[in-house]
């Protein structure tokens, strides 16, 4: 059991959802995953958020987004790697997300 947004690698196996996760709409996670696949090389946090906002036509809470990303990661559906900071980010690193399901899945969307 670990809090969301934790970067300690989970000891739990893929596929086991977080206890709090059930309350959130599953289709939101699916949309996040879809956005990551579509964005491909450019799937950074802000870009994913913007893609979701474009699709939904309304603003998306960053809290909801990062919780969903955390959940997807724990289910083993996405993984991320650290990339360098840009000037706009106050010197802080960024995460590029990618789907673990490979290219076939990306073609669907």
């Amino acid at each position: 059991m670990r809090p969301p947004f934790s970067d300690q690698r989970s000891s739990e196996g893929p596929g086991r959802g977080a206890p709090g996760g059930k309350a959130l709409p599953r289709d939101f996670d699916a949309r996040v995953l879809g956005a990551i696949r579509r964005l491909d090389d450019a799937a950074y946090g802000p870009e994913i958020a913007r893609a979701l906002e474009r699709d939904a036509g309304k603003s998306v809470s960053r809290g909801a987004l990062y919780t969903a990303l955390d959940r997807l990661e724990r289910k083993g559906l996405v993984r991320w790697r650290i990339e360098e900071a840009t000037a706009d980010r106050g010197g802080l690193p960024r995460r590029r997300f990618e789907s673990t399901q490979g290219h076939d899945a990306r073609m669907e969307s």
């Binding site: 969301p4 990062y66 000037a87 690193p93």
Partner: protein, 899 residues
Amino acid sequence: MSRAAQRPPVLAVALLRLSLPRGLVRDTILGDLCEEFNQIARSDSRRAASRWYWRQALGLAARALPARARPPRKPIDEAASMTRGSFVDELLIDLRYGVRQLARRPAFTVVVVLTLAVGIGPNVAIFSVLKGLVLRQLPYPEPERVVAVWETEVDFRGYMPLTAPDYFELREGNGSFEELGVYEPSWFNLNDDGVPIRVRGVASTASLLRALGMEPAMGRLFTDDAEVPGNHRVVILSDGFWKRRYAADPAIVDRQLTINGEPFDVIGVMPEEFEIVDFWSGLSRPDIHVPLVLPRGGELRGMHWLLALGRLAPDVPVEAAEADLRAIASRLAADYPATNTRTQVWIDPVLRSSLGGVSRTLVFLLVMVGVLLLIACANVAAMLLARGTYRAAELAVRATLGAGRRRLARQLLTESVLLSLLAGVVSVISAVWGLEILKSLIPGRIPRVEGIHIDGSVLLFALIIASITGALFGLAPALFASRTDLAGALKEGLGIDSGWRSRSKKLRLLLAAQLALALALVNAAALLVISYRNVVATPLGFDGEQVLLAEIHTEGATYEAPESRRAFWLELAERLQDLPGVEVAAATTKLPLQGGNNGFAIAADAPYDAGVRGVWVEYSWVLPGYLEAMRIPVIEGRTLTQADLDPAISRPGPELQVVVNRALVQQFWPGESALGRRFRQNGNPAAWTAVVVGVVENVRQFGLERSPIAEVYFPYVPVTRRSTYLVARTAGDPNALAPLVREIVTAIDPNLAVNTVSMGDIVQAVTENRRFAMLLVMLFAGTALVLVAAGTYGIMSYTMSQRLHEVGVRAALGADRGRLLVFFLGQGMRFASWGLALGIFWALWAATITSNQVYGVNPYNPWLILGGTIFMFAVTVAASVVPVVRASRVDPVQALRAE
């Protein structure tokens, strides 16, 4: 807006850092948000970006914190390590526990929260007033570069407006200002639907608008061409006026309005936040803004009438700019010795110069509410300490189970901060409501009142002050309770209290502290009440009852020539004079209590010497009948007549027949008759020479509190463009005459708007400021007394309940009720006496803060402090009597059995 990356709101970032678990993921999320923040700041505004950032930060924290607070479901062997969890984790556990504790005793919680709210609420309210009036930044870009420029007598920093020729020289000659502009606040006769109304406005140079650096919300600003006569008929509306008068009509630009009888084109609307702050006229948001057409000639070298604001060039310090302007002023003094010899220039940061003495009163009030808060703290600390009795057993159990002292103290501290935060919320809610009342009480002449409201920084202040309060009143009980004597406390839990003795000593110390603090407040309130009474009782020097005033602005092309202005006033006074019910009708350029139109004079036979300042003299230009209408007593000679008027209008340098006040005679010819004596303006050549034909009593010129200075009543010459007041003494209610005055003015000129007010209202208005401060401090002192009385009652009740056994023993050994009463009351009062003795010193010190608010009373008046001390003592005795009497009435058998 600059392209450089900006920082998101510091507090929101701190919130995120606290709520998200430390590590790489947190850094990337912070980075993402920072990136998006910058994108929004560039595409929209920094304000929008900050709003967005806060929303996201709160959302993220709301999701992350509960997850971290969830009780960890870990195996037993790991539980031990949890007691040394991260700071945030422990805090959350403490919070959860604290909420449960408070919910368990709702009555206690409510009493504590309300007591604290009584202390915090006034602080929040006064701070928001201070913030709205003084601390709020001006809405201009880089407001710190905007400064006010004043002329003054040499070696002095007085507030004297600029002359038009000096303005041109200063503006063109300096190298330190990006832009320098001048304005004149004024009233305008605006006519857009047949009925003229008076609107507050500003006539300014185009350079003033550039100096402030604000863009219009709609349309355009005027440029330098508009300062040429003929091009000047353009007007910019304020946002408020546009919404109020024209229902935010989007087609307002290019519409024509009649202003002062001439057609003006609306060219723009200023943004909502635009303001020009000016204590001179009490202005902060002018309704309209028109170009100022300045005369270029040198004949106005002696007339100081332009208020100046400038924008310093980047990186030029105020001192350097001032030195630059002073060099120009010195050159002018050499070139124009007649008018400029004794004129110097100085620079004042604009906000300070705009608020005059308001901030001093506010700081005084802030100190007073600070004292009130301390009293509330001491009060609550006593309640918590007393409650410690009931919690001692609980704490002891927790200590035996391994909780360290620091851990326990932190738990108690968390609870008190939680209490004070709750109180902070209550305070803010009540402040929102209380602020409306406060705003309606703030005297009308103070600018920027509309900027007072609860905003982010006020909330932050409330948060900070509530946290400090919590720490303050929670600290002592927390340290005390955590230093637990385990065995004793456990016994206590069984009903055997061994700790009350030291506890009740601490309680009485807190009581003494409250008394000491409250004494200062009571003393300040008494000083202010006496000062107010003194101010109201000040002899005015005139009789303003049954006098109607009508302020009329003879502006525009019709009244360009002074003769036409004088003709208008003479006709108006004459027509009014004929009305039934009007005893005398006249006019004046300046009202009593509203001075500020002055110059310097010397005896007529004294040779001109540029190094001599002369006598400071107030000027009033009046029509015959004015002195009679105001019932200003004549001491010697006669008042002005129609015959005095005619030589006054013929220029240049005429010899005028004038009436002077007693103060002028005392300065020029002390102890002698002034009739037939001559004096003149201190200039070369003199602008006027005067012959004294009469002497009248002094009239208060600058409010009620400043002693009168020398004054001259000239026969009416429409010299300035300043407003003129019609003055009419009536037989009955002056306000009943108002509609008739309006009718007559409209008959003479339908384009003139009239504003009537009775002189009685003006007299009342000048004491408003003081009345306001007095009422507030009385309210605070009253609240403090209630707190102290309630605190005393509570502490005595508690102490007596703990000493019932002793009462029983003493009674059983034969002490009668009277002696018991005296004994216990005496013990309580010993502490009260210490507190009050300490309070006398503290009140004397606090009187130094009050001293700039008093009038006609010694702030260190020993009798007043003594009276306050006795009064406070009586309050304490009264509050202690009931619990002590109740305890002494207890049946000794019952009391002994109660053990």
